[in-house]
């Protein structure tokens, strides 16, 4: 809380770093919590980051609720973004595992006859070659299945997050009395 010269009303200030092209239109969403934008600056290092400054009166109604809802909203968005970053982790690990197994089997199939050309070694070579093919076929099917599940899970999470953020914004609107400009337009 600081007093601006010529203005007796004490104010709170907020400085936020946002990614430029975020899908949530966060710059406008902060206004629902009673914040008024004062400045927007580009980051000196990253092209997709902006720094936005806001202020609002120190004494406002329902401040605790608005603060908690704001934290909630930020947390939901960051959690979704984190989930987006790591959504294909399991399929990537599965793919790596399948690839390593296939490579090892192919290597075994190639090396076995080079060691000795007996019936046993040829059998081992054939067996390893067959296993490598089966590993690749079933491995790819497995990875595709995991990937499909991951996409579905992420879609469900995105939907839940979107509903949650909408609910938070509606509640913030009611508490702060500020109208959502997106809905108006």
């Amino acid at each position: 809380m600081e007093e601006i010269k010529g203005d007796c009303e004490p104010r709170d200030f907020l400085n936020v770093s946002l990614t430029r092209d975020n899908e949530w239109n966060l710059r406008e969403k902060y206004k629902l919590f009673g914040w008024t934008e004062t400045e927007i600056k580009d980051d000196s290092l990253y092209s997709n980051v902006v720094h936005v400054s806001y202020y609002r009166p120190h004494f406002i109604d329902n401040k605790d609720d608005l603060q908690l809802l704001q934290v909630r909203m930020e947390s939901e968005i960051n959690n979704l973004s984190k989930a987006d970053m790591y959504k294909h982790l399991r399929s990537a690990l599965a793919c790596s595992l399948v690839a390593i197994m296939a490579i090892l089997l192919v290597a075994a199939a190639v090396v076995a006859p080079l060691v000795n050309l007996t019936a046993l070694h040829i059998a081992v070579c054939s067996f390893c070659g067959l296993c490598a093919v089966l590993c690749l076929i079933f491995g790819i099917m497995w990875v595709i299945n995991i990937r499909r599940n991951e996409n579905q899970k992420f879609l469900n999470l995105r939907e839940r997050t979107s509903e949650s953020i909408t609910a938070i914004c509606i509640r913030a609107e009611l508490l702060s009395g500020v109208k959502n400009e997106e809905e108006i337009s």
Binding site: L26, L68, I77, K82
Partner: protein, 530 residues
């Protein structure tokens, strides 16, 4: 207008501006935590060095004198017997015995280095002298305003610590630190005589600047301003520039239990009290320290949920006395108690207010026992809000039995941890109670720092966490009251916290895998020190 960004060049190749690729879409600019880690590392390094020297001396003696090994084994055995006979809680005893037996060569030495009767004995005698000398300024005990339901608690508090019930005091409960400090600032500006502040944490920042402007103004006007802070609490938050600023303003500043690079477990005893006294007429206490995160000016662990209490009236004398005794202990100079405790100031009120303190200056674990009494006396409902839930066996058993008897027991803990390992143990203890019917809520995206325990008749609001550290090692303070207005506000606060909370069920406890169980089981070994 299309923006052009400065381009980076690597030889003849042009690279565009870097792209931020961390997952965070939004970042609040105050999310950095703490400073001064370098100083902490140096002191910890020196302490670790002393411990290493102790171990090396043992190994050297064992190598030279074989009988020393036998002797240390015998001494360890008898030390274990001694530990069993002490008054420590059962978890502490078990951990100490395990430690002594596993490190039988030097474990018993470390145990005795940590015994407060040896290394805090002189300080306890000093406290006893201070209490004896200032005893005549303590108020007389009177049961006139206590009714049957709280009479026993009032008698307990008087007999264990000399804390008296006050009838002429008005209370106001704050469900957030920001609201409390708005009123603190208002009251500080109207101070005429003295301002006493005792805090565990004082931190540079927006709130500190606001408070300092008022304190500087009041100190210039001749008000006696004193600040007492805890060294460990403030060593990474209060810069030397701020200390100089405080002293330059003519404010008296003292530090409790300064950290020295000398191995001593007495360093573990901290002043966790939060007291603000203004002119002997108004006092504030609760869980709120003088730092930005407590008023949500700084984002550290999500939304910071806290509680505070304002006292106006005769009960403020008790806090004045607590502060002056601690000030005398720290400075070594006898204080003019009469100057600050001469006049009484009463405000019409129907409620009973009993401010009390706890710590190594008292012979009993008052905070823990008051909590136990409140839990034991609950017949309809019991509310507990605490940042750390590491109780000992007696409190766990009481909570379980109350829930099984049909009492509505609700426990609210944080949803965001400040210390991951402490939080793991807190979750473990909280989840263990869910099978008895205790309702446990985590407040989502929030760090709950409130310390509130209430049943249908009375409540305690203060600085006492429900963990072993607050019960056995720290200096604490709180207010016990049956004020109906405060009880109603506490109920509303719990309803609010629960509406933003997520209930932990027995399913959450059962679905933990074996590695998580081993991890939390190992952390329990150090729970007495958390």
């Amino acid at each position: 207008m299309k923006k052009k960004y400065p381009e980076r060049r690597l030889g003849k190749k042009t690279i565009g501006k870097a792209v931020y690729s961390d997952y965070k879409v939004v970042k609040i600019k105050t999310e950095e935590n703490g400073l001064g880690i370098f100083k902490t590392l140096i002191v910890m390094g020196v302490l670790a060095l002393q411990l290493a020297i102790l171990i090396l001396i043992y190994l050297f003696l064992s190598y030279l004198f074989r009988w020393y090994v036998i002797l240390s084994y015998v001494l360890s055995f008898f030390t274990c017997i001694y530990v069993i006979s002490t008054n420590k809680n059962s978890l502490s005893k078990a951990v100490w015995i395990l430690f002594i037996l596993l490190s039988f060569g030097f474990g018993y030495i470390i145990y005795f280095l940590s015994d407060e009767r040896i290394f805090f004995g002189r300080k306890k005698k000093r406290y006893a002298r201070i209490f004896a000398a200032s005893g005549k300024y303590a108020d007389e005990y009177s049961e006139n305003c206590c009714n049957g339901e709280i009479l026993l608690d009032a008698q307990y508090l008087y007999r264990t610590g000399g804390f008296v019930p006050y009838c002429g005091t008005r209370l106001k409960y704050y469900p957030s630190g920001a609201r409390m400090f708005d009123e603190v600032l208002e009251c500080l500006t109207s101070a005429q005589s003295y301002i006493f502040i005792e805090m565990y944490i004082i931190s540079d920042g927006v709130l500190f600047d606001r408070v300092m402007k008022v304190l500087e103004d009041r100190a210039t006007a001749g008000v006696d301003v004193r600040i007492l802070y805890d060294f460990i609490g403030c060593h990474r938050t209060l810069s030397s520039a701020s200390i100089k600023r405080i002293k330059r303003a003519g404010i008296k500043l003292e530090c409790f239990n300064r950290l020295t690079p000398r191995f001593s477990v007495a360093l573990n005893f901290r002043d966790h009290r939060k007291i603000i006294v203004i002119d002997g007429k108004v006092a504030f206490t609760g869980g709120v320290n003088l730092a930005d995160e407590y008023v949500n000016e700084k984002r550290m662990f999500g939304y910071w949920k806290d509680s505070g209490l304002k006292l106006e009236g005769s009960a403020v004398r008790a806090f004045t006395l607590f502060f002056l005794r601690q000030w005398e202990f720290v400075t070594g100079r006898v204080q003019e108690y009469g100057r600050f405790l001469s006049a009484g100031y009463e405000v019409p009120s129907e409620s009973v207010v009993i401010p009390f303190a706890d710590g190594l200056d008292y012979d009993y674990h008052i905070g823990k026992n008051v909590y136990e009494n409140i839990i034991a006396n609950a017949s309809q409902r019991l509310y507990i809000m605490t940042p750390y839930f590491i109780p000992d066996d007696s409190i766990t058993a009481l909570l379980r039995n109350k829930a099984l008897s049909g009492v509505d027991v609700t426990l609210v803990i944080p949803g965001v941890p400040d210390k991951a390992f402490v939080y793991s143990v807190t979750r473990k203890y909280a989840e263990k109670l869910t099978d008895s019917g205790v309702k446990v809520y985590r407040m989502k995206d929030s760090f709950v720092h409130s310390k509130v325990v209430a049943n249908e008749n009375c409540a305690v609001v203060g600085s006492i966490n429900m963990d072993l550290r607050s019960f056995y090692q720290q200096f604490e303070c709180a207010v016990y009251t049956d004020d109906k207005g405060v009880m109603k506000d506490i109920q509303a606060d719990f309803d609010w916290a629960i509406s933003y909370g997520e209930r932990i069920t027995d399913y959450d406890r059962r679905r933990k895998n074996v590695f998580q169980r081993i991890y939390t089981g190992l952390l329990q070994l150090v729970a007495p020190f958390m």
